[in-house]
Each structure stands twice: as structure tokens, then as C-alpha cells.
Amino acid sequence: MIHARGLARTFRKRKQEVQAVTGVDLDVDAGEIVGFLGPNGAGKTTTLRMLTTLLTPSAGTATVAGCDLIADPVGVRRRIGYVSQSGSTAPEARAGEEVVDHARLYGVRTADAVVRGRQLFSDLDLDGLWERQPKDMSGGQRRRLDIAMGLVHDPGLVFLDEPTTGLDPQARANLWGHIRSLREDRGTTVFLTTHYLDEADALCDRILVIDRGAIVAEGTPDQLKSKVGGDVLTVTVADPARAGDAARLVGDLPGAEPAQVDGARVIGRVPAGGPALVDLVRGLDAAGIGIAGVESRRPSLDDVFLGLTGRSLREEGTSPDDAPTPEVVPS
């Protein structure tokens, strides 16, 4: 469905060249749900805008839905759906009219567009909102309306840019269900970007991790996690002053890597979490260090990202212009 080689994009900003995307190779097969995971400013949206013909690549080639991106952008546009971060409807328009007009821009006849739009509204739990103005809809409803807009011409490939950003947990879970059924019920290939690890984990068959304009890892969520190796131990000590001592104990566990301290929390990695946990609790007890909490868990995608880039993904409020600040301890 998508084959891209060396896709790159350079912006000129006040006479300075900014390389937003330095060279992306990616392949997506028909019927896959692929996630593009990375922090804000990593180049996710820029890559997506290139793949959807909204931005011309500075270098590289790509075939999207069977059409060459450079030679036949109109062919690409005809075959893909795109759901952008910023929405797609005028606040004061009527939802149904926006969907029908959008379909007409794809050459769909009005009567067909109405049938198709009504069906999508019913599929996406938007029943009864045909005449509603987007400004009077909830965030989740608006996002589903955006998805209806992106699907109205029945594309085989859909791009979703940060589909659940800004939604409450319930609306997110609901939207995940709808995204899964895109593939299950329609066989649609889905390419989505996200900076939420749980979203990539829950939704995607395959994940491409992007950082600073280049793909740094690729695989199924399990493959990526197994790259980290071992389990993550987290100890919260009762007295933060003793966190250093606790870190030393964690680091001394068999096969452990040096532990990191974050306030009262100590985070370390060991080959097998279960036995290590027992040893650790005994050791802490013997040293007289009070324990507020202790936990062993499988690595998350955040640990993967941390391992790959030395930075945590869980930082909010980073503007796209800023290079993400290095952070040693996942919080």
C-alpha cells in the first residue's frame, strides 16, 4: 500500500535550513494497521503530509495506494483518505452537508454521497447528528465526523494524524474500536501517527518509531519490547533521602543495569523480575530502608523509546520547534 524510500523534507526558516524529515524508508502492506510513533516535532506529521500529497518531498520517492506520489498526486488523492489533526469541517456548517460536499469533491454523485454519509454516521455512532453543527458537537463526535469525512469515498488506505489527541479516555477507547473496525469490516489499511504509547500498543500491528526526522526502530509492539530485554523494577522508598541507597541495592542485583533515581522512585532493569524482587525486598529490609511501593513489570513502549533515543516519550507541551529535552528518568 505504501512504499517510500529516502523521503525527506527540508524547510527554510529565516534563511536557516531545518531538516524536518531526513530520510524515511517505509513499507505498509494492505490490511495493516501501522503506527507512526514519536514525540512532538519528530517529523510524524511532516511525513504524513508528504505521503498524502499535501507537501512535496525535497528528496526521495514513494508509491502510495499504487500511484507515484510525485508523478500522479491526483491518483494518490483519489485513493486515500486523510483525517488531519486540525479537523475538516466548518464549525457553523451542518455535519451531513459537509460530508456530502466532501464526497462530491471526490466525484461522488450527491444521491450516492447522502446514502454513504448516512451509513457512515450510523457506523460511527453519529446517528441523529446529520443536521448538527460541528461547533455543537463534543470532541469525540467531531473526531468521528472527521473520520466520516475521510472515509466518504471508500478509500482503501486511510491516514489518521493523532486521531485521539485531546479526547477523554472514554472517547479514546471508543475511537480505537472504530479504527479497528475500519480494518475488520472494510479491509481498510490504516496508517496513523500518535505520541501515545498505549495507543500504538493497543491498536497497531506494527510500529515505526520516528525520532528527529528518521525512523529509529520498527516492529510489532512485542518485538520492540523484547528488544529492551528483561523486566523493569520500580521501588518507591518511604524516605526520599534513602533513594540513593536503594538505587545501589537495585544496581547490585544479579545481571542488573545501574538504576536511576527520580525523587523517591528508583527504576532499574533486571533479566528476571520475580526472583530479583524477592532479593531486593530482603536487601532493603536488612538495610532499614522503608518501602512505600515496589513493582516489577514488562517493559512498555516508553522503555523502548527511552532505550532507543535516551529520552522519554511522556513529555507533553513540547512545541514542534523545540528539540525535545533529554530526560533520563521516565516519569
Binding site: L54, L55, R116
Partner: protein, 272 residues
């Protein structure tokens, strides 16, 4: 979701056989009817746009009546209304970009640009809506002026409306192109004000530039809108083949060509 999978890239989305022209016409109609519907749903802006010229007719026009003789015209409104019509075209069209910035922010522009629709149609459909709104406003303005005593040949009035429509098409294209380039009301508003007020003051819309001292007339001579206003006045006086009429029409045509080249180029460029 139970519509089942259709033949991909075919089915509903199949590009029906047809020339590029018919696709352009179809897309233009879609964009136009959507824009028109949104304007009709929120007629406040159309009304506000019309209020200002009507206020000029009602509150400023009577001041000119005693001066009419000195200005070389039998009827103050015959002199004044053509200028106000050009002003309507100037303001009405140049400010349409604000709505496009709002649409861009709502993601509408990008969602239209990711469709196979012609880029020219995305501009043309909106401009046609603006032209139609201008024509309705202009007609209402003339009807109000008739109540106040305007007397002018019908052909001249119709020609002037056509001139204003062309002017509106040119400036609305320019306004959209600038809006899409700046993408910020904070940058767009000062730019418009910087351009509109000198143009307005040097156009002789309120009073003919023939009243001005020589140096001011000289400056105003380089303002194309002054000649367009004089062309419109010639139409209202029934002098359809006078030099002023030809100049007005000619400069309007030049503006239409320049405005369209600028607008279409901007809409065809990437990164809308």
C-alpha cells in the same frame, strides 16, 4: 460498519469520464454552493458589509446635494453612487480572506486540498460566491439610492455592476491568496488597512479628485481605482464610449488578469 468492501479505487470514487473542464465546473459548483450555503446561514456578515455603503448613501449623500452644481453634475447621487459601488467592491472583496483564515484553522482548506478536486475550483467557487454577494449588495444599494433621488440610465447602472463584479473577482482572488500565505488575522488586518485607506482616499470615491490641488491629483492618477471610479461615473452619465469609460474597463480587466494569476498560482502551490 457493514457496507462491505467495494472494489477499491473504483466504485463510488471512480473518476467519471469527462473532460477536465467538466470536472473543474463540477468542483467549482460544489465549492460555490457550499460557500453560498454558509453565507446564507450567517447573513449577518452580508448585512454588515452592506450597512456601510448604505450609511454613506443615507448620511453622507445629502451633504453632496448642495454641491452638485459646483461638481458639474446635475444629480449628486449620479456622481456619488458609482463611487460607493466601487468602494463596496473594494472592501467587500478584499476582506473575504478573513473567512478563509478561519476555514484554514478549522482544517477545511487542507481537507479540500487532499481531495482530487481542482485547485482552481477551490478558489473559483469561493470567488463566485463573493461576486454573487457583491451583485446582490450592489443592487440593493442602487434601489436605496433610487429612493434618495438617483437618476441614471439603466444600461449604465448594469455596466457599472458588471465592472464592480469583475473588480470583486480580482480582489477576492488576491485576498484569498494573501490569506492563505499569511494564515493569520494579525498579519492580514494591518496589511489590508495599510493598502485600503490610501487607495480609498486617492480614488475620489467620496469627492471627485477634480476638486483636489494639482499635486494630489498627480498622486491619485497612479491609483487604478480612481480611473475605475471615473469609468463607473461615465457609465452613470451614459457616456459609454468616453475615454474615462475605456480606462475604467481596461484597468479592471488588467486587475482581473493579475489577481487571477496571483490567486491561482497560490492555490496551486503546495502547502495550502
Amino acid at each position: 460498519m457493514n457496507t462491505g468492501s467495494r472494489a477499491r479505487g473504483g466504485g463510488l470514487a471512480r473518476h467519471r469520464a469527462g473532460t477536465r473542464v467538466s470536472a473543474l465546473a463540477r468542483d467549482t459548483w460544489t465549492v460555490f454552493s457550499r460557500a453560498m450555503r454558509l453565507s446564507l446561514r450567517n447573513p449577518a456578515w452580508v448585512a454588515i458589509g452592506l450597512m456601510q455603503p448604505v450609511l454613506y448613501i443615507v448620511l453622507f449623500g445629502p451633504l453632496l446635494e448642495p454641491l452638485a452644481g459646483r461638481l458639474g453634475s446635475g444629480n449628486a447621487y449620479q456622481l456619488f453612487v458609482p463611487g460607493i459601488l466601487v468602494q463596496l467592491g473594494l472592501f467587500g472583496a478584499l476582506f473575504v480572506g478573513f473567512a478563509l483564515i478561519a476555514e484554514w484553522r478549522a482544517g477545511v482548506v487542507e481537507s479540500q486540498r487532499v481531495t482530487p478536486a481542482s485547485r482552481t475550483a477551490l478558489l473559483l467557487g469561493r470567488v463566485l460566491r463573493d461576486v454573487l454577494v457583491l451583485l446582490v449588495q450592489g443592487t440593493l444599494l442602487i434601489l436605496v439610492s433610487l429612493l434618495f433621488g438617483l437618476r441614471a440610465p439603466v444600461a449604465g447602472v448594469v455596466l457599472t455592476l458588471l465592472l464592480v463584479a469583475m473588480l470583486g473577482a480580482a480582489l477576492s482572488a488576491v485576498s484569498y491568496a494573501l490569506a492563505l500565505t499569511l494564515k493569520s488575522e494579525d498579519a492580514f488586518a494591518p496589511l489590508l488597512n495599510a493598502v485600503v485607506f490610501p487607495v480609498l482616499l486617492l480614488s475620489g470615491i467620496l469627492l471627485p479628485m477634480s476638486l483636489a490641488p494639482g499635486w494630489l491629483q498627480g498622486v491619485s492618477d497612479v491609483n487604478p481605482f480612481k480611473h475605475i471610479v471615473e469609468g463607473a461615473r461615465a457609465f452613470f452619465d451614459g457616456e459609454y464610449t468616453s475615454a474615462a469609460a475605456w480606462w475604467g474597463v481596461g484597468l479592471t480587466v488588467v486587475l482581473v488578469v493579475l489577481g487571477w494569476v496571483f490567486g491561482v498560482r497560490r492555490f496551486r502551490r503546495e502547502n495550502g
